[in-house]
């Protein structure tokens, strides 16, 4: 599992890990639940090709060759399509009649558009299926950026609470005893139907009841899945890798992610610092290689390189600090990946994969 802040090249790192893994394992899968297009592009797919099917696709031989994927290994790539996964769950759990009624509600058709609420829930179902299928020897999971990654790890708990919530049961007509279980009569009245009906309007209120009533059929399955997943992250087969860059905001998020994992009791396998700027050679000592250029141009070149030099110097300090914090003291693996100036995307993945190996 690869997690980290936004803009640190997390998806590129996940893709590189997948390429590197083909040197050791035969059937490798890289999946993202982040709706950004990067993963598809990194492997030469269009977003829609990956999303419409909802299932991972194998890379072509041509792309595999460009990426330096090991001979005889398969590399597949998938992007979560929340609606596809949701429909799949519905098909398995509901009767045809229930499913049709649910799909007719406005709430259902709109909910699939509200990707952000739904995404994490469906992501679990999807990843779980990949794991249980046993079709892959090695799976790289690219999680959403930092703050949402925390949502992601918290999903089992959150969904469990939601499913157990008595408010949920308001919409379940058979359980009339809910009012007694709630703190007091006043709250019971406040939560009564007329209040909600007035607030939401009759149409949406009735549809909500249908929606939640049918949705509640799935409760048992979702709860069971959540309990399994809550234990999942701490299993020895799972390695969590945090990605950051030397940038100060990325450092802030990296600290947040690693602290969060510690709090949750999820072991941190490794830290990867990406986009580490190299120190450029000083232009003034480069008279021989720059011979033939006017002196004022060499002076300008020096000034231009100053910005890169500053970044490189700061990166150096941050790398040392991180090495101490995460590797020496924290016991995690530590790796840096250089800022790439390759103009071809495949070359970046290949360079990274070589370095990871």
């Amino acid at each position: 599992m690869v997690c980290g802040g936004g803009g640190v090249g997390k998806t590129t790192v996940a893709a590189s890990l997948g390429v590197a893994a083909t040197r050791f394992r035969k059937r490798v899968l890289v999946v993202t639940i982040d709706p950004s297009k990067r993963l598809a592009e990194a492997f030469g797919f269009t977003q829609s090709a990956l999303e419409t099917g909802g299932e991972p696709l194998k890379l072509s031989d041509e792309v595999k060759h460009k990426l330096g994927v090991a001979d005889g290994a398969e590399l597949s790539v998938g992007i979560l399509n929340p609606k596809y996964v949701l429909d799949q769950i519905l098909d398995q759990v509901l009767t045809d009649e229930q499913r049709d009624r649910l799909k007719r509600t406005t709430l259902y058709s709109q909910m699939s558009q509200m990707v952000y609420g739904l995404q994490e829930y469906t992501a679990y179902e999807w990843v779980t299926r990949m794991l249980k299928d046993g079709a892959y020897d090695f799976i790289v999971l690219d999680t959403p950026p930092a703050a949402h990654a925390k949502d992601f790890f918290n999903v089992p708990e959150k969904v469990k609470h939601l499913m157990e919530s008595r408010v949920f049961q308001i919409f379940m007509p058979k359980k009339r005893s809910w009012a007694r279980a709630i703190v007091g009569q006043t709250v019971g009245q406040a939560l009564s139907f007329s209040w909600l009906e007035k607030l939401l309007g009759a149409k949406i209120y009735n549809e909500s009841r249908t929606f939640f009533e049918i949705f509640s059929v799935m409760r048992g399955r979702i709860l069971e899945r959540c309990e399994w997943l809550a234990r999942f992250f701490t299993q020895s087969e799972v390695a969590v890798v945090a990605v950051g860059t030397p940038e100060s905001s990325a450092q802030f998020e990296l600290e947040g992610v690693t602290d969060f994992l510690k709090q949750k009791g999820i072991p941190l396998q490794g830290v990867i610092l990406n986009q580490v700027e190299r120190i450029p050679p000083a232009a003034e000592t480069s008279n021989t290689p720059l011979e033939g250029l006017p002196p004022e141009l060499i002076a300008k070149l020096k000034r231009f390189r100053e910005n890169q030099l500053q970044r490189a110097e700061r990166a150096f300090q941050v790398v040392e600090r991180c090495r101490r914090r995460y590797a020496t003291e924290g016991g995690a693996d530590f790796l840096t990946l250089p800022m790439s100036y390759a103009s071809e995307g495949f070359d970046i993945l290949k360079e990274n994969a070589d370095r990871i190996v």
Partner: protein, 312 residues
């Protein structure tokens, strides 16, 4: 540039509106620029509010830390002269909204503090976002600030947030929620009052993503005022000089005597190429572009006067 700088801060080159939505993917320096602009606006004598959406997991706020706080308050708190900070909270938004509807705050509190309701509002999609939306709406109603700068969470989430009122209105076309949503839309879709700024970097992927973000915002009828191209390295070269460097690099790679310096020159040229390409691609979108230089201090150590946003 204003030549008359001795009489005080020169006018802000950026045309801030009353409501400014700072958008952009993670890691592009959006928060730093939001703080910079807020501070610049306040220094020019405008009553300014710098707001952000809460991070429910309780991490320190990077924005607030830049002003010496762990978090901003859920009521505006003074940061500097003319500048207040605010954390938009789902709970506060939900509470205040229910209050205005139920008219009995004790009842509202009882409902919202009920554990089951809490879990529901927390776990069910859209309710949190709706709370943030209403909390913001309350500030917009008050007309207390001439400038509001809202530092929004990274890309995808904000597009979701922007889409929310429209989706909810389809679900809930009448009643008090709908009224609130429509009122909010009225503010946010009005280009006289609102400007969304897309912050990006002079690199291939960030530029692609910022163009997608701009399109997504425009699809939601949010007025996008322009791009803020951040961390632009100074480019001292004339066009002729760049051509000279390119030619030099080509000749170098032919006789292969360049070594590390030849490789470095390639890196220099690639950095320049990315800069030009970023500018050209953003310009093709037909919106104004402003640039900001790279700064090497963290937000809390930043001397704001050092950071100048320029019209490209």
């Amino acid at each position: 540039m204003n030549e008359n700088s001795s009489t005080g801060p020169h006018p802000l080159v950026l045309d801030l509106k009353r409501i400014n939505l700072m958008t952009g993917k993670g890691g592009v320096g959006r928060t730093t620029l939001a703080a910079t602009l807020a501070r610049a606006s306040a220094e020019r004598g405008k009553r300014t509010l710098l707001a952000e959406i809460e991070d429910e997991s309780g991490w320190d706020s990077q924005l607030a830390r830049g002003f010496g706080f762990k978090h901003f308050g859920v009521e505006p708190q003074p940061l500097l002269k003319n500048l207040d900070g605010l954390r938009l909270s789902a709970f506060v938004g939900q509470e205040k909204f229910l209050n205005s509807f139920l008219k009995v705050s004790a009842l509202t509190r009882m409902i919202l503090n009920h554990q089951g309701v809490k879990w529901f509002l927390d776990g069910a999609p859209a309710f949190r976002e709706m709370g943030h939306f209403f909390h913001l709406l309350l500030q917009l109603r008050k007309k207390e600030y001439e400038t509001i700068i809202l530092d929004l969470p990274a890309t995808g989430h904000f597009v979701g947030l922007a889409r929310l009122p429209g989706i909810l209105l389809k679900m809930i076309p009448f009643g008090p929620i709908a009224e609130g949503l429509k009122e909010g839309q009225h503010y946010i879709y009005d280009s006289d009052q609102t400007a969304a700024w897309v912050v990006t970097l002079p690199q291939v992927l960030p530029v692609s993503e910022s163009i997608e973000l701009k399109n997504a915002l425009q699809r939601e009828n949010i007025p996008v005022a322009g791009f803020l191209l951040n961390r632009v390295p100074p480019n001292p070269f004339t066009d002729d000089e760049e051509r000279m460097l390119e030619e030099f690099s080509r000749n170098h790679s032919q006789n292969q005597s360049g070594g590390t310096h030849g490789a470095q020159l390639k890196v220099d040229l690639e950095r320049l190429r990315r800069l030009h390409e970023a500018r050209a691609r953003l310009r093709a979108e037909g919106l104004p572009i402003w640039t900001a230089p790279e700064v090497f201090q963290p937000l809390e150590e930043l001397d704001f006067a050092e950071r100048v946003v320029r019209r490209d």
